[in-house]
């Protein structure tokens, strides 16, 4: 049995030499994994950063108590930010705009694109609710002037107004504007702008690290055959395919 194993291993080595890829055994790789130093407090910080950036206020508060990790942003500001995000997600754009200005009037002043998208969302909601006259008035008074200043705003405005031409929204070419994903997109934009105005990174670090893992493994694939984590949701190590 062991002679068989030796022969197989030799064949593997010859094959790897032919493809010039270094073969790393499971044992060897696990040793390298064990050598890595990961501090518990760093992982806690990573989790806290996620909770805070994504706006899970209560969870962040509880995590601070249960783990002793300090959030890198004032938790009070998260509640306000989440209220704005929620308002947009539910289609209450006027309310959201008021709240943003309460938080920091400079945000909309310095972000013409964001402001336009919020106004655009307001228009979409008016159309969705069948308030045609109001919608037209709003488009002419608030949005048309912005469109005149900026070509891409004008294009988006025209797309939005086009909704009025259809009775049956489910079949029209610009119907995607009425989809909830449009609200979510705008909500994300507002969330990011608020975070930036508070000098905080607008994205949590964790997803970037997960992407980095995929990238690093892809890069390493060119040079070595080693145990991989193919399914990040299980974090299970899989032996290299022979």
């Amino acid at each position: 049995m062991s002679l068989f194993c030796i022969v197989i291993r030799e064949l593997e080595e010859i094959e790897s030499m032919a493809s010039s890829k270094k073969v790393i055994t499971r044992e060897e790789w696990e040793r390298k994994l064990n050598d890595v130093k990961i501090r518990k407090e760093d992982m806690n910080k990573l989790v806290m950063n996620f909770l805070v950036t994504e706006g899970y206020v209560d969870a962040a508060e509880k995590f601070r108590m249960e783990s002793g990790t300090e959030p890198d942003i004032d938790l009070a500001t998260i509640t306000d930010r989440m209220a704005v995000k929620k308002a947009v997600q539910c289609g209450n754009v006027e309310d959201a705009i008021e709240k943003v200005n309460d938080l920091n009037p400079e945000i909309l002043d310095t972000n013409p694109q964001l402001f336009f998208h919020l106004q655009q969302q307001r228009l979409i909601e008016l159309i969705r609710n069948g308030k045609v006259d109001e919608a037209l008035e709003f488009a002419q008074e608030e949005l048309a002037p912005r469109g005149e200043e900026n070509q891409s705003f004008l294009e988006e405005l025209e797309k939005t107004v086009a909704l009025l031409a259809f009775e049956d929204f489910s079949n029209c070419p610009v119907g995607e504007l009425l989809d909830i994903s449009q609200r979510l997109k705008t909500a994300s934009e507002v969330n990011a702008a608020i975070l930036t105005s508070q000098s905080h990174e607008k994205d949590p670090k964790l997803p970037s690290l997960l992407k980095m893992l995929i990238w690093a493994q892809n890069q390493l694939d060119d040079k070595a055959a080693y145990p991989r984590i193919n399914d990040l949701s299980t974090a299970r190590l899989e032996d290299p395919a022979v």
Binding site: D35, V36, K37, V47, K62, S199, H200, L206, I229, L237
Partner: protein, 454 residues
């Protein structure tokens, strides 16, 4: 069988308990910092007869008239350029271009013919001031950048990510060229015509070129490529949830789940990863209680609860788990100044660990606490930090998870998914770097987290 696994687990945590100690085994993190960069010019192997190096070894002059192409005044840095980083860079300032301005900046190998301009010989690279050409071991130079003369500050750098050299003039990059040499390279300066004088800056003074901005830019290029990768939906959410579950942060978990449900749209996780989750749900409330007790330093209460709920964990008082708990109790006594009680506790509970391999280092450090009036400032002060309590809490947590009769894979108990993913990330980056001649930056979670927001 279970005993073997639990001993492995415990040893793992024993090692962790010494993480904070500065005397612990070599840190992969530090390895990168240990490379010493060049600090001054090397006067031992320079073409001594042809040039004059100043006493501070940071400037060089060509005093005579040169006769031919083999009397160049060449000098290298005292050490080779460090490689375990993104970029290496240094600058020269031309004090005087002398008669002909035949100054060069570049990189050469060990054993370079120190009478020739860098770039005129194989395996050397030089950016020459008189013609603005780049020489890379060929007789003819390539068109590269502007000429440079008195008053100019010129820099030479190695970008390990792209495996290229780059040169700057007065703060702006003038060009890049491929680096074909794999081995160690020395920053090199050369002067050749009469009265040329050049000063060198290896980083002791601020550079004319904004190196930090350049590095940030290069890192950004890599980041852009990484950000393009798409993740399965809710992966991060799932990893965080799994983390909270694994370590027993019950209250946080409940809040988190509630928020997830009321999210727009509600977050639902693929229960395919259920098998791991089931294992981690085990004894959630009890693990939470124990963690809270240990985090507050209430070790006796923790031992009490363990005795009530999991007597077999604390049955063997020579086990690593008990050891860690007793050490922590000792530490807590020292913390509040109850030194007499600490001594008697130590005699009863800790003495037997002195001879045992694996335990002795920690117990020695604990006892050492008694020697200091201000133990938190001493070399064993790390024991008084929260991180120490955290290790004990994590050990107890893992031990309880192991008790789950349904557990088949002990690895699940040892590390959270997040930890496994981060280890894989670090190991992959290190291996990739190793296979590329050990050049370039490695991934360090600690640095990424503490780099601060720009």
């Amino acid at each position: 069988m279970l005993n073997d696994n639990s001993q492995d687990l415990a040893t793992h945590f024993l090692k962790l308990s010494r993480l904070g100690s500065t005397r612990s085994a070599m840190d992969v993190d530090d390895d990168d910092d240990r490379e010493e960069p060049p600090t001054e010019l090397n006067t031992i192997n320079s073409s001594g007869g042809f040039l004059l190096v100043s006493p501070d070894k940071l400037s060089v002059k060509y005093p005579t008239v040169h006769m031919h192409g083999h009397d160049v005044g060449v000098v290298q840095g005292n050490r080779p350029a460090p490689v375990k980083r993104l970029v290496y860079y240094f600058e020269i300032h031309v004090k005087s271009a002398g008669v002909k301005g035949q100054i060069a900046i570049g990189f050469t190998c060990e054993g370079f013919k120190m009478r020739r301009q860098p770039g005129w010989e194989q395996n050397s690279y030089g950016y020459h001031g008189d013609d603005g050409l780049l020489y890379r071991g060929q007789p003819k130079g390539e068109a590269f950048g502007p000429t440079y003369t008195s008053g100019d500050t010129v820099g030479g750098g190695i970008n390990y990510a792209t495996q290229e050299f780059f040169f700057t003039k007065n703060g702006a990059v003038v060009g890049t060229t491929r680096k074909d040499v794999k081995g160690r390279l020395y920053p090199t300066v050369a002067v050749h015509s009469q009265n040329e004088e050049v000063t060198v800056n290896f980083g002791a003074d601020p550079f004319c070129f904004d190196l930090k901005a350049y590095e940030a830019q290069e890192r950004m290029k890599q980041q852009v490529a990484i950000e393009k990768i798409s993740l399965p939906p809710n992966l991060s959410y799932g990893v965080v949830r799994s983390y909270l579950l694994h370590y027993g942060y019950e209250d946080t978990l409940n809040s988190f789940d509630l928020a997830g449900k009321s999210n727009v749209p509600p977050i639902s996780l693929d229960q395919g990863s259920g098998s791991n989750e089931e294992g981690r749900m085990y004894a959630l409330s009890q693990r939470k209680v124990l963690r809270q007790l240990i985090r507050k330093g209430k070790i006796d209460a923790a031992l009490g609860k363990l005795g009530e709920w999991y007597p077999d964990i604390v049955q063997d008082d020579k086990s690593a788990t008990c050891f860690l708990l007793y050490c922590q109790k000792f530490i807590e006594l020292v913390r509040v100044g109850e030194l007499e009680e600490a001594v008697s506790y130590g005699r009863t509970k800790l003495a037997k660990f002195f001879e045992l391999p694996g335990f002795e280092e920690l117990v020695q450090d604990c006892v050492a606490l008694l020697a200091y009036e201000q133990p938190h400032k001493s070399v064993v002060g790390y024991l008084l930090e929260d991180s120490q309590r955290e290790v004990v809490a994590d050990t107890v947590n893992a031990m309880i998870l192991l008790r789950n009769p349904k557990v088949t894979d002990t690895q699940v108990c040892l590390r959270s998914d997040l930890e496994k993913l981060l280890r894989q990330l670090t190991a992959s980056c290190l291996m990739k770097r190793q296979l590329e001649g050990d050049q370039g930056e490695a991934f360090h979670l600690h640095r990424v987290l503490n780099s601060g927001d720009e």
